[in-house]
Symmetry: C2
Subunit: 204 residues, 2 copies
């Protein structure tokens, strides 16, 4: 059940605030640039938006007067629409960001752990493969979080994104440790050991 927020803009979903948040950093940006930036930041802790979602939020924000846009001039090879935050938008965002409303608990949907919880229905071999696939994917995510952090480092306007990306780097490291500990736990489940070749009596 969504909590009543302590701002008059409480009805906006967090994804709208997230897009307005992207616009709150210095500079104008196209929808495509916002999408690329979200993929290198928001994605690690909140949201990996489709480009259509970015444009839907931009339309909503323009409708509220929180963002404005302009077409690039004839000097550009292709016209593009550039978005910027308005003063009203900045005030509304600051009100939301500094409000006393609880930001709410994290939401986690971990399909791997759901499959492990149902492990009695699958072979131990298949479960191990699934966890190993998750480890490999998480190693890729860790590298991307580190790359994003490296790009943000040393830029004072990005001090808080740096804190969020440092959290993301550690979160991916924790995810790896959790997966490795789960592999060790899986190997100790009763009945799993007999799947190991050395425990299986050779026929004949």
């Amino acid at each position: 059940m969504p909590k009543k927020q302590d701002t008059r803009h409480g009805q906006l979903p967090p994804t709208a605030w997230a897009v307005l948040g992207l616009l709150s950093f210095p500079g104008e940006r196209t929808g495509y640039e916002l999408k690329k930036w979200a993929d290198a930041s928001l994605r690690f802790f909140y949201w990996s938006p489709a480009i259509s979602q970015i444009y839907a939020e931009l339309r909503r924000l323009e409708g509220l007067g929180y963002a404005s846009s302009r077409r690039s001039g004839p000097e550009e090879p292709r016209t593009k629409r550039q978005y910027a935050i308005t003063e009203t938008g900045r005030e509304a965002l600051a009100e939301w960001a500094s409000g006393t409303a609880d930001s709410g608990p994290p939401v986690l949907k971990h399909p791997l752990v759901l499959r492990i919880w149902l492990g009695h229905l699958a072979s131990p071999e298949r479960l191990r493969e699934r966890v190993e696939l998750h480890v490999a994917r998480t190693e890729g995510e860790l590298k991307e979080a580190r790359d994003a952090l490296a790009r943000a480092e040393g830029i004072e306007e990005w001090s808080y994104p740096q804190v969020a990306l440092r959290w993301s780097e550690r979160q991916q490291l924790a995810e790896l440790e959790l997966a490795r500990a789960m592999l060790a736990d899986l190997a100790r489940v009763p009945g799993t050991a007999r799947q190991h070749p050395s425990d299986t009596p050779t026929p004949g």
Copy 2:
């Protein structure tokens, strides 16, 4: 974009499999019992369903012939509907659980880290309060995960739920460490130190 699954039941959402998964453990259960059980297990790694969602999934599963239900007899003080998995349901669930389809990446929506990322819009004081609130809530979640694990321990049919709950316990511990490391990072953001009383020159 949802990936095509390697089963003919690929169109069912994971929440339907999760409810069928609850029914795959020994015993019949009412919708209310399933809700209570989901809150003490699934909630930590996948889903905290509303009772209405549980009943919607049960109707869907009955419609597919994957679950059956019966009213309790006249010997019960109040009639209740008890649900059980059918043979067809067990086969479909096993096919899903042991399929080779990638279970997909975890989805994380962390509203606290979103607020930290937008920290330039709030006071350092307010940010710290938010993180501390998150720490207190996470300590409560850790206790609940440990209680759930204690209830599952020593029961062989629940070997895999034990693995999932051990993962959940460690995940809450990691969440606490991540929050504490973030508090330390926040204290080092340029411009934050001046908020500390000892750094403020006393007037006069």
